[in-house]
């Protein structure tokens, strides 16, 4: 098998993780990197990447690669994917493609016409806990799914400045849960009812967003999912999924710092869940990029594609509308 040549655009926190993971893989070579920040370009240099630039155009012009990883800020995703696709490159892009449905549809159209492969970075699908749930549901271990329960709580709220441009809770955080709801039971959502509140930090409310939410999703067959979110769980990162069906139930649990149990006069004590997504999903990020490379090599459909990004965005936009109008919103209303 010949080596696959990669370019990477964006070497911030998540870009660095992807780069490190790729550099440990066989059959893959990173030939070019792009980042406007000097510190990030330095990082590329230290990793012996031959071509380094601060301009995405230059990166694309360099040309000697077949796949590109886009890890730059969200507002560049759509343009960069489009340019990459037009240049015939297969693309891995961090989610979301864009916050505008119209723009996402345009980009997917370009990708489609270019005939390149596109994978979206829904990293949680590659977490072994959630994969196991998916696998057991697929094997009919719980029978026909009736109820899906997703708990997703962050250890602390991001800066309000981030929230202002992220699209808010439903588009920067719950969007992972919308994807999870579709993933674990391989079914589509037709209706959304979202309820939210500002209970963690009034500044989030002042910025026009919520920090605590409960969302009810209805699938095509009438089965239902419930998601609960909080921007701030005192005990760390809380990420659990439960699927209940005609034959039983499967639950995934958090991953903990360690498994010790301390018994004393006061009771029994154990370690908290891993504190943040970077720890929790460390392995998932590796598996994700391996999956992308596998998709490239096999010339097959990517496991998480543009449509997955599109559907999650639609559910997110429906949730926003539902919260605003305090009524259930059909996905078909989101056009």
């Amino acid at each position: 098998m010949s080596t696959i040549k990669f370019a990477i655009a964006g070497l911030g926190r998540i870009g660095k993780i992807h780069l490190d993971n790729i550099l440990q893989m066989d059959g893959v070579e990173v030939v070019a990197a792009m980042d406007p920040s000097k510190e990030c370009r330095e990082y590329a240099k230290n990793n012996n990447i031959p071509f380094i630039t601060s301009s995405y155009k230059d990166l694309i012009s360099m040309g000697d690669f077949s796949a590109i990883l886009i890890c730059s800020p969200t507002n560049t995703h759509a343009d960069y994917v489009e340019m990459g696709a037009l240049a015939g490159k297969n693309v891995f892009c961090e989610k979301p493609l864009d916050l505008s449905l119209k723009r996402v549809l345009e980009v997917l159209n370009v990708v489609n016409e270019s005939g390149v492969q596109l994978m979206l970075g829904f990293n949680r699908r590659f977490d072994k806990e959630f994969k196991k749930v998916h696998e057991l549901v697929k094997e009919d271990a719980v029978g026909k799914p009736h109820l899906v329960k997703i708990t997703s709580r962050d250890p602390g709220a991001p800066p309000v400045s981030y929230i202002k441009q992220s699209g808010g809770l439903f588009l920067d955080m719950t969007i992972h849960d919308f994807d999870m709801a579709r993933y674990v039971v391989d079914n589509e959502i037709v209706e959304v009812y979202a309820k939210g509140a500002v209970l963690v930090d009034p500044a989030i409310g002042a910025a026009g967003d919520i920090d605590t939410a409960v969302v009810t999703l209805t699938y095509t067959d009438g089965s239902m999912a419930i998601i609960d979110n909080s921007r701030e769980a005192a005990y760390g990162y809380d990420q659990r999924v439960e699927v209940f069906g005609s034959k039983g139930m499967v639950q995934s649990n958090n991953i903990f710092h360690d498994s010790h149990k301390l018994y004393n006069k006061q009771g029994i004590h154990a370690a908290n869940p891993l504190h943040f997504f970077l720890e929790r999903y460390q392995e998932a990020y590796k598996t994700e990029i391996q999956d992308f490379v596998k998709g490239l090599s096999n010339g097959i459909q990517m496991s998480v594609d543009g449509n997955d990004g599109l559907q999650s965005l639609k559910i997110g936009l429906a949730a926003i509308k539902s919260l605003k109008e305090n009524r259930p919103v059909k996905i078909s209303e989101i056009v």
Copy 2:
């Protein structure tokens, strides 16, 4: 302390449980029993109850008791409580008082004017698992509550004939969860959104009811509860509560047949939850009646009173309306 004299009306499944529990208590005597069924009266006789009748009027006329337990069918509750109250008896009544809001208000009015004590049989409040959650929330162990999650799934659906007269899922089953939602955080509900489906048994749908449901409740302070229900959990009776707040989270779990773990080539295996509410709440029923007796002796406010019955009924009626109209319904709409 002098002995408290009791009468009991209704010696079906739940009446027998209460009778057995009372007979084991000190300072309490059961002097009269009423049931239209010969088998049930026989049961009273075998327990040496001196006065036994098939007529509730006769029971009330007998008169030589200060407290009465009403365990007869739901459609007799309102009349029996009213008659008991007018006769100056303190009343313990199995829930619900009635399925009609108007009738419940009438009965509570009579109770109020009679100056008797009334306790409603929300047995789950006396389960040690839920009591512990309540206690920890009260002690501020989780801080200000933000989210309450209640899972309540039965091991099998009741006969359709029962469902036809029970008021349906929200009034015969979820009503316990509505009470639980109020109980664990000592807060009131202001809005309900209910979503349901027929996924277990089409006959339930044909009878006009649902068998699977997800309900979102909003509290006075904007915090939220989510309830998920199913009439049929393959693995037994599933009753869990989670309260998430500003300082942390508390979860209760099911009670299991035993705690064994069997490790073999196939994995690790453990016992299922107790299969039905009679097993699960065996101890809770004892504690409940003890609590009623304590309330009588102390002449204090009952721990679960008429207003608790009223509020749960209102939430249930709002859930029915919400399901029908597929929109959030304010409790204030239920009049």
Copy 3:
């Protein structure tokens, strides 16, 4: 089925428990009670027992019963069982029969010749956790047993005065574990190696006993058991069993106050094991007496008989010898 008439000798802590449990059973009547203490005889009177005496001889002379429960102090067991057997009564006796092997053999001889039934009060065999382990081992769920692990730790040491006459740790506490070791795998012990220390309270050492111990037992087939004991576990009563075999492993766990989990900044917290044997084995005591009554009714071999008492005593005596001589001791040396 006709009613079985009982007498009970000894109404201390454990006698009261047995009496209460019998009084709740059908087909059983307690017609006579004996205790030297006035308070205990008062207890019998309040429970409407017709014949009450302070003399065991009088009790036996009264005669109108077929079974007798012996719950008096250990040093009376041998004589009382003997007298009961000679009078043709079936006997339930709290363990141990006696601390002297010679005396136990004499008593068992009398029981044998009298043709009465004898059951020993090894209550732990009736605990549902240990029963489940036994049942799974019997069903071959773990294959051929290779290793048995028994943890048995008390929440606090008894008074030194008690220890002085109890036979010490191996005969008053570990003896339950010796029985458990035989019970869970239905196999006999051939050799014992005991190691002990005074780590909890020097006063126990001054009284000639130990408070912490590790005992290795060897079964007839070379498989092994290990027991660890402490007189004082800060977190409550710790009673666990693990059986490891050719096909896998089964573990029982403690029973906890409740199943809550509290997550906060400091970690996850849960409730301690039940604090003492009275709580832990509350249900086991009921099942034990029901089992005795069943044994009586069916005229079958008792589930825990004189030989079980004898074997545990021999293992205990071997452990004492092993500790003293710091060498493994064969059961066959104990004569």
Copy 4:
């Protein structure tokens, strides 16, 4: 900080793991590798190691490194460590140094006189589960330790050919537990009693070894440890530690494939422990080498040194003697 130059001797299974881990570290460079096998030298070549040889003498002669990793077969350890030490190299050596006490003492003498640093590869000390137990014991979370319980069971027996030259169960497997017993409570062993049996495979017995064992260890202060071993646990690799003390107890648990729970009619099902030590201790191997490098850089005492190897060997030899003579053996007898 200047780069530390490494040589590595032995690139079998464990050597490859160490090499891969070192290559991912900063401040470290592997300049030379030695292995008699062509395949292993090829592995070194593919990892761009400049100097590759099949002779340990050549490796030492090459000289341009300050530290050496010895991952060659056990029977070469003593000679290689000695030669490395004499050449002034700091040494990391896989355990055991040697199976002969005399030889170990000689080697440690040479190491001592050469003034080089020596670290022994007791990898389990670097497992986060055991580290947490050690840390909590050190922090006095369980008070004064009274009992240590170590369970260590392999998923399957090694080939009999391996057993014949490994020193047997106590020297190739339990030796890790002997080290663990010393590590978790920072205390020394003074006496050993070992009991063993052939219950897994008669071929192991024919080779003069046992496959199942129970070992009692006594510490300097009279507190005790118990170890149970099996060559074959049907459910995977079982590695647990429990320390019980005056203030409470701490337990570590196995690490499992994932945390899913599947509830169905048959019960609750979960995943097995990780199957083998390579999976279980993957992270521990990384931490171990990082610890060695840290020890080198800081010029401090190594965290696991020659004395640790010596003590574990002595306990192992005492266990062998104890098993043979069926009596407790003092460590002071092993000379």
